[in-house]
């Protein structure tokens, strides 16, 4: 399968890339290409212009900044697996990076692309929702920051303007007593989730002082399980509280029946994964690895 024809530009600076976006309405950014190129081969995507940002090497970094972890938009998924900071201090992100597609895809796929594609089946949206991340966008007017809660606006739709590029993701540094986990059930390595749950908790003694929970591939738009969050905040994670949170997540998600399972199955899987991810996040919080 061969993609349709398109014009190709490979800018060497961010400003040049933004200018090209302004000149070519409907142009698509080519980053890792691991979602875009398959869609183009099936002719599900027929962009007339591709702007290849792989030359913008200064967008490829993982830095620990004051109060947050900064991930450049062009950072490869494999770099997350190889980052000591991610592996030791951001276990929810480390969990996520291991289960995105497969190692070959992760060598090219980017964190920024995974988010900007705004596919509810992708794994980073739920993780970043749980982390309460911020997305940095650069456009002709300069740079702005978008809260992750405001980033996903529809299926494959985000709040970036047509001439903006996602340049960085900022994950707040987990404080003392924080813990996170991402649990995913997939049919085989490389497949999208049947369901997956991202949890980031802050514990105060035995009680949950704050919780954010993101869900993967059980709704048309990447979503938080707000009801499940409310079920655990201020509570000790007893079996009853975990079950209530799981049931809340199962009720508030909105899966579609497909080859991966029925609606009932996906809801129940979401219930179970929510409980397990909460338990694992709390264990990690207690163990001192946030």
């Amino acid at each position: 399968m061969i993609p349709g024809q398109f014009d190709y530009h490979a800018p060497t600076s961010l400003d040049e890339a933004v200018a090209l976006l302004g000149q070519h309405g409907g142009a698509k950014i080519l980053a890792g290409g691991q979602s875009l190129i398959p869609a183009m081969r099936f002719r599900l995507a027929l962009p007339e212009v591709l702007i290849d940002i792989n030359g913008l090497a200064d967008l490829d970094y993982i830095r620990e900044a004051v109060g947050h972890l900064a991930i450049g938009g062009l950072t490869r998924e494999s770099a997350l697996e190889e980052s000591a900071a991610v592996q030791s201090r951001y276990p929810l992100l480390a969990d996520t990076a291991r289960v995105i597609a497969d190692p070959l895809v992760r060598n090219l796929a980017t964190v920024g692309g995974n988010l900007a594609h705004a596919d509810p089946a992708n794994d980073h949206p739920a993780a970043m929702l749980a982390y309460n991340a911020q997305v940095v966008a650069h456009g002709p007017q300069g740079t702005r920051t978008i809260a992750i809660d405001d980033f996903f606006t529809g299926l494959f739709e985000n709040s970036l303007a047509d001439d903006e590029i996602l340049t960085e993701i900022r994950i707040p540094e987990p404080g003392a007593g924080a813990g996170g986990a991402y649990l995913k059930v997939e049919r085989k390595v490389g497949d999208y989730a049947i369901s997956a749950v991202a949890v980031q908790l802050a514990m105060s003694g035995d009680s949950v002082s704050a919780a954010r929970i993101g869900l993967t591939n059980v709704s048309p738009v990447p979503m938080r399980a707000s009801g499940a969050e409310q079920a655990v905040v201020g509570q000790r994670l007893t079996e009853e509280v975990l079950e209530a949170a799981g049931r809340a997540a199962a009720a508030e998600c909105d899966p579609s029946a497909d080859l991966r399972g029925s609606v009932d199955y996906k809801r129940d899987l979401t219930r179970v994964l929510t409980k397990r991810a909460l338990r694992k996040a709390a264990e990690r919080a207690a163990g001192g690895t946030s």
């Binding site: 399968m1 061969i2 993609p3 349709g4 024809q5 398109f6 014009d7 190709y8 490979a10 080519l30 290409g33 691991q34 190129i37 398959p38 183009m40 081969r41 591709l50 290849d52 792989n54 494999s78 597609a101 497969d102 190692p103 070959l104 895809v105 060598n107 090219l108 390595v189 490389g190």
Partner: protein
């Protein structure tokens, strides 16, 4: 239609060619350079038969445009044997029967090559993880894992010998 002139090295040899922007790297390697050892399996970014190395990283060449490889160093299965001698991985697949139909083998070897370059002494689990983007429909993977273990042992042996010679000289 947008055409571009690209210059890249493939297996150490420099090539300059004109390509259409939409030409996939796997088609460029097979059809423009006539290096047909890199296979096309699923054409849907699933099977890994088209795996080759770009700047040392194993990638699916059905999911990268040739124009993106401008300036890159590409390595295909044809570049793995040196001076007519099989690479330890190729020898391992031969000795351990790591292939039956052989269709996935070039991709398996290129994935394993990156794995061993990053991690010369992988555990069985790490090997299975490392080739998890490559599908084999014949072997059930056990023989492939053994082939990669053979290659890792062989490479370590070679390094010890080389080190020994150096120490004694």
């Amino acid at each position: 239609m947008s055409k571009h002139t690209i210059t890249l090295t493939v297996n150490g040899n420099e090539f300059t060619r004109e390509v259409e922007s939409r030409t996939l790297l796997v088609h460029f390697v097979r059809e423009d350079l006539d290096l047909t050892g890199t296979h096309i399996g699923c054409d849907t970014t699933s099977c890994g038969a088209c795996t080759l190395l770009v700047n040392g990283r194993a990638i699916k060449s059905c999911t990268m445009f040739a124009v993106q490889a401008n300036g890159a160093a590409v390595e295909t299965i044809e570049g793995v044997a040196q001076n007519g001698d099989l690479h330890p991985l190729q020898e391992g697949f031969w000795e351990k029967h790591g292939l039956q139909c052989g269709y996935c083998t070039p991709g398996m070897i290129m994935s394993a090559k990156q794995l061993l370059e990053q991690n010369p002494n992988p555990t069985e689990e790490e090997i299975r993880w490392g080739i998890s983007g490559n599908l084999c429909r014949c072997t059930g993977y056990n023989k492939i894992v053994e082939a990669i273990q053979y290659a890792a042992a062989k490479a370590r042996e070679g390094q010890t010998e080389a080190g020994g010679e150096e120490a004694s000289s």
